[in-house]
């Protein structure tokens, strides 16, 4: 009896301890806590105290896309693709270390991947022969002389049904590269976008894991007895795009984008009452452009803000934003309005974190995949300096 009573008491207490529910609607204002949540929204024009722009992070040939823009738009951009040397002889039998001589080249097949396209109808790609000797220093001026009718290989109509991500296969004649042997069987191609209206197209690149592919179809003399047909493929070992040089950066300007890519580092000084003693529920970075956004017609730039784990200047390590579409703004070419970017996640991460630098980086992502650039005023221009609009809630005291 006594033991049963003890265990019954135990059960009653444990049952009660496990069943807590206090949540109730507030009978406001009489029976609501006097400690009310207060939201404060403030525009801080002097919160950004230092800023710097650096260029040279990612070069165009490391970019994840090849940007094509129509020449007469004032934003010319051509793709440059080079393939490694094809073999001099073709091995027909496994174990044959010498191989057989190529009798003739039947044709080539070029595979390009449309990384992104606009729905403009009537687009064409023009393929030109380029010198096999070009390298990573190639510029628009180096390529321009070779983009004329004498070096035109072919033009390809971009079918309206071709969608972003689709491969395009183009058959080229066997004599598409007249200096094929003289160039050591190395081939290089320039690609120009032609369209009835200003627009752009992205091709897959080596840096983006979608390299162009060139396949050679050849005739091989099989020990003088018989002609056999073989094919041999080469994946591009160099891809880039060339464009008109970007104008020099003015002393009071900051910039992001372009190729090689530029980043801007923004350093912030906010009151501790906002950073440490409050909870930031929304923080907006306001940037004033110094000129319209440059880039290919109809293209957009993804301007991304990211926190820094340390502020070492241009080599500051970035804490990548893992959440898509957070802390970014998409800017169409030609836009000149004030740009607002949500940086709540960055400012909120500074709370009670003395180790974290009060600075962040702005860059265009993916970097160097466009010559597009966004230039904005630095903190050295009082009337146009970057500003912060912060909405915060001071910590309530019980």
């Amino acid at each position: 009896m006594e033991r049963r009573l003890a265990w019954l008491s135990l059960a009653v207490l444990l049952w009660g301890a496990c069943q807590e529910d206090l949540t109730a609607p507030g009978a406001c204002p009489e029976f609501c806590p006097s400690t009310r949540i207060t939201v404060i929204d403030t525009l801080i024009r002097t919160g950004i105290v230092r800023d710097s722009a650096f260029r040279g992070y990612v070069k165009a040939f490391r970019g994840t896309r090849l940007k094509l823009a129509r020449e007469d738009t004032g934003a010319t951009s051509w793709a440059v693709i080079r393939f490694p040397a094809f073999s001099e002889r073709i091995v027909l039998v496994s174990g044959d270390t010498i191989g057989e001589e190529v009798v003739a080249i039947d044709s080539f097949r070029l595979q390009l991947t449309i990384n992104r396209r606009t729905p403009v109808e009537g687009m064409e790609l023009a393929l030109f022969r380029l010198p096999a000797s070009l390298d990573s220093t190639v510029a628009l001026a180096d390529v321009r002389p070779f983009l004329d009718d004498s070096t035109l290989i072919t033009t390809i109509a971009v079918d309206d049904t071709v969608e972003s991500g689709d491969p395009m296969l183009v058959l080229l004649p066997g004599d598409a590269f007249p200096s094929f042997d003289a160039d050591g069987r190395v081939t290089a191609i320039g690609v120009e976008l032609r369209s009835p209206t200003p627009t752009f197209m992205n091709l897959g690149s080596l840096g983006g894991g979608q390299p162009p592919l060139l396949t050679r179809f050849v005739q091989v003399d099989s020990a003088g007895a018989e002609i056999v047909f073989r094919d041999e493929a080469r994946q591009a070992n160099f891809t880039t795009y060339v464009f008109a040089p970007l104008p020099d950066l003015a002393p009071d300007e900051l910039t992001v984008g372009g190729a090689p890519s530029a980043r801007s580092i923004i350093r912030v000084a906010l009151p501790s009452a906002i950073i440490d003693s409050s909870n930031v529920v929304r923080a907006t970075l306001i940037l004033v452009p110094t000129r319209p956004v440059t880039g290919a017609p109809q293209d957009t730039l993804n301007v991304q803000t990211e926190a820094l784990s340390a502020d070492f200047g241009p080599k500051s390590p970035i804490i990548p934003t893992l959440v898509p579409n957070r802390g970014n703004a998409r800017l169409p070419t030609g836009a000149s309005d004030t740009v607002e970017i949500d940086i709540t996640h960055i400012v909120a991460s500074w709370k009670n974190n003395e180790q974290s630098p009060r600075s962040f980086v702005i860059r265009v992502t993916p970097e160097a995949s466009s010559f597009g650039e966004f230039r904005f005023s630095s903190s050295r221009v009082p009337d146009m300096r970057p500003a912060l609009q912060i909405t915060y809630v001071p910590t309530l005291q019980p």
Binding site: E2, R3, L5, A6, W7, S9, L10, V12, L13, L14, G16, A17, Q19, E20, D21, L22, T23, A24, P25, G26, A27, C28, P29, E30, F31, C32, P33, S34, T35, I37, V39, D41, N279, V280, V281, R282, D342, T344, H345, A348, Q389, T391, V393, T395, L396, Q397, P398
Partner: protein
Amino acid sequence: MTTRAIVSLIAAVVMGTSSVEAQTSVFGVVGIGVPDQSVGIRTRALGRGLAAFDAGSAVNPATVALFGRLSVNASATTSVRSFASRGVEADGLQQTRFLYAMVAGGVGRSPVTFAVSFGPYLDRTFDVTSTDTIVIRGDPVEVQDRLRADGGVSDVRAALGWRVTSRLQVGAGVHILTGSTRLKTIREFSDSAFVPLRDSSQASFAGAGVSVGANLALSRRASFSVALRTDTRLSRSIDSVVVGRVQLPVSVTGGFALAPQRALRWSTTVTWRNWSRTKSPDARSFDTWQVGSGVEIGGPDVGASRLPLRLGVRYAQLPFSPNDDQPTEWIAAAGTAYPFAGNRALIEASLERIFRDGAGARERVWQLSLGLSLVP
């Protein structure tokens, strides 16, 4: 009853519940909280009419002199609550709290005895949700708020009692007021551009007090009791920095107990506290009267029955109100006790029905309390 069972029960009482606090109430949202007293289960069952005489309660230090042997008791309570105010209704609000504990005993062969107790003084627990529409950056944004405070102030008393004569006992106690409240704040915005707010902060409380009392038995059937307690200001600290102080009240308690028959005991306790000196920025504060009265019928100590029947009723004024209407509470209580292990252990239970009204709110509470006393 095995030692193991006793240990299990004590563990359940002490560990199976939350911190030491009084009952949670909608009236605890205003002012500095809902006050309570460190009283035992027996006193609760008697409508707190026995508070001035009960050695198991920490109201009158003179009652400490009634302890002869070392004893330990602890109790916990579970409440189910509903309220209505201004068209807002809520029910099924449930909470379990560790209520009260005391260790007492004699000091050698002297007439002096001691008691150390740990009980509630103020409760500051609530969990309130609300919705609103506010304008941020020029646009209306709907917000859903939740404010949850959990904690309160506990009363740790160390008291000495002196049996001056067989009819007169006096005592004095020192009170340490301590505790904390953790406030959790949640705000959800209808506009996803604003990140949800999740924040918490904690405040700790500190204060002190002294109490004196006397118990006088006029005869074997009638006794009177009086106690006086005064407390310092209660300080509120955040991160070890004092951010505020409020003056706590003086408490004057008097009571009488009558036993017209051996198996029938009637006790009444009246307490006055000048809470009006406790200025709260968000509430009106009032002095309070509390009157509790109860009868105990039978019980093993009088040889009438093994299980005593305890009945009580209590009227009390609450000290804080959001307006000029002072809330009040009525309590109807009942309880019993069951001795076992050769009367070396006692399980007590009380059931209270609480009616609180005033200031535009109505609250109803069922409160079940269980306690265990041991004489090692």
